[in-house]
Amino acid sequence: MIARAFIGLSFAVAVWLGSAGRALATDDYTLPFYDPAISLSYGVDRDPRSCYQRDWANVLWADCNLHYGRVYDGHTGMDYPMSLLSPIASSRDGTVIDLFEGFGTQQFGINGNYVLVSHADGRRTLYYHLAQNGARVAVGQTVLAGQWIADSGCSGQCYGAHLHFEMRAVVSGRWTSVDPIFEQRFTTSPGRVPFLASYLRESNSGTEVIKRYTTVTHWVEFVNAGGRTWRNNINAGRVLLGTWNPATRASAFRAIDWPSSWVATNVDQTSVPPGYVGRFTFGLHAESPPGGYDESFNVLSNSLRWFDWSRLGSFHVPITVITNTRFDDP
C-alpha cells in the first residue's frame, strides 16, 4: 500500500507541476470562509469502492482509515474545522435554493442544518452542519461570491465543529459530488479565502508632513492574496480603501478626490486578479490645526467584507500638519 501511495503521490506532484503554468481562472469558486488559517480536515473520496480512497492529490489509499488532511472513505465533501458560529461565505455568485436551520447548533443526528446554493455554471454548493438559525439568507435570495451566508455549527452527524462543504454537478444525469480541488474549480489551487491582502509598499512609509490647507498624494500597494478578483467598476464587491478604527469614520483628512467622507479611494486598476498587486491612490488634505495625527485605513469589498487589517500591516498613515504661513496667523 505504501508503494501505491508513493506512486500516487508522484503522479499528484506531476499533476501539480503541470498545472503550475495554467492561467488563473478568475471569478471561479473560492473557499467558503474568511479565515486563511483554516485548513482542510478531509477532502472528497474520488474512489467509489469501499475501503479504497483516492484523495484530491490523486493518491490512492487502499484502506478504511482516516487520512488527515487528505480523505476518508466515502466522503462526499470537504471538511474544514472551525469554531462554532464562524462566518461561512458563498463560494461563488448564486441563488439560495434550499436551507434548513431548525436543529440545535450541536444537535447530533442523521440530519443537520444547511444552505444549498445554485450557480450559473449548473453546479450547486452545500454548506452543512450549520448553527441553529444560522442561515443569514433566504430561499430564492441571490448571493454574491464571498457574501456571508451562514454561521457554522456542529448539527447532524458531527464529531467536532466544522463545515462540510460540498460541490455537486450533474454527471450522467444524476447529481453527484465532485472534487473542486482536483478539478481545479477554485480560482486558485488549492483554494483561497475570498478576501485577503498583504501589504507590499507605499509612497511614504514614514510620516506625511502636510502644510495646513494643502493636499498631498499618497498611495499604498497590497497584494491580492485572496481568491476573488478586485474590481473598481461594480457596486457590490467593489474593492475600496476606507477609514478604520473605527470603520467608516468620517476623516478629517478627506481630500476632494475621495468618493465619500470615509472612502479614500477605490482600487486604482479596473481588475486585480489573485496574486497581482493593487494600488490605492488618494489625497490627504489638512484642515486640522498643526500637530500630529494618525489615519488608519482598511480594504473593503463593498457591502461584503472588510479585510483582515492585521494582514495589511495594520496600515495607517502618520501625519504631521505644519503651519501654513500664507494662511495661518504667525
Binding site: N65, L66, Y68, G69, Y72, D79, F108, H129, G156, G160
Partner: protein, 146 residues
C-alpha cells in the same frame, strides 16, 4: 477531571489479553471522583519497559470512561468509551490536552470521526480518535500515522 495513570493502558491491555470487559457499572464514576481506571492503575504498577508502549504520562481521561477491548492493531495503545455522542469528546480533548501539557498539532473533525494529533512533552506525536460506537463515543489513542 479524572486522569489516567501510566498503568491505565496497561490495564486495558491486560483486559484485552484476557478477553474480559469490566462490568459497565464498575467502570463508571461520577465526574468529580477519581476514575476507576486510575484506581486500577495504582494497583497494577507498570514497569518502565511496559510504559513505553502505553499512554503518554499525564494523559487526561474523560469521566465515566469504560475500557474497551483493544483491536489487533499494534498502533492502538488504549481505547475506551464514554456516554454520549457528538462533539463532547472532541471538545473535551481540544480543551484538556493543552492543560495537561500536551501540544495539539492538528484537529480534524468530520462526519465519521474526530481526530486530534498531539505531541507529548517528550516530543512524540500521537493521535486521538473519537467516533460513534453504538450509543456511546469510543475514544482511541494510537501512534501517529498519515
Amino acid at each position: 477531571m479524572s486522569w489516567i495513570g501510566r498503568g491505565a493502558a496497561l490495564l486495558l491491555l491486560a483486559l484485552a489479553a484476557f478477553g474480559c470487559d469490566l462490568p459497565s457499572e464498575a467502570g463508571r464514576s461520577s465526574g468529580a471522583a477519581p476514575s476507576p481506571i486510575t484506581t486500577h492503575a495504582l494497583e497494577v504498577g507498570p514497569t518502565p519497559s511496559e510504559l513505553a508502549s502505553t499512554l503518554p504520562p499525564g494523559f487526561p481521561v474523560m469521566p465515566n470512561a469504560d475500557p474497551s477491548r483493544l483491536p489487533n492493531d499494534a498502533s492502538v495503545v488504549a481505547r475506551w468509551t464514554v456516554p454520549g455522542v457528538g462533539s463532547a469528546a472532541y471538545d473535551f480533548y481540544a480543551e484538556e490536552l493543552p492543560k495537561a501539557g500536551f501540544t495539539i498539532v492538528g484537529t480534524y473533525p468530520s462526519e465519521r470521526a474526530a481526530l486530534i494529533r498531539f505531541r507529548d512533552p517528550r516530543g512524540r506525536i500521537w493521535q486521538l480518535l473519537a467516533e460513534l460506537v453504538g450509543d456511546r463515543t469510543q475514544v482511541t489513542v494510537q501512534t501517529d500515522r498519515p
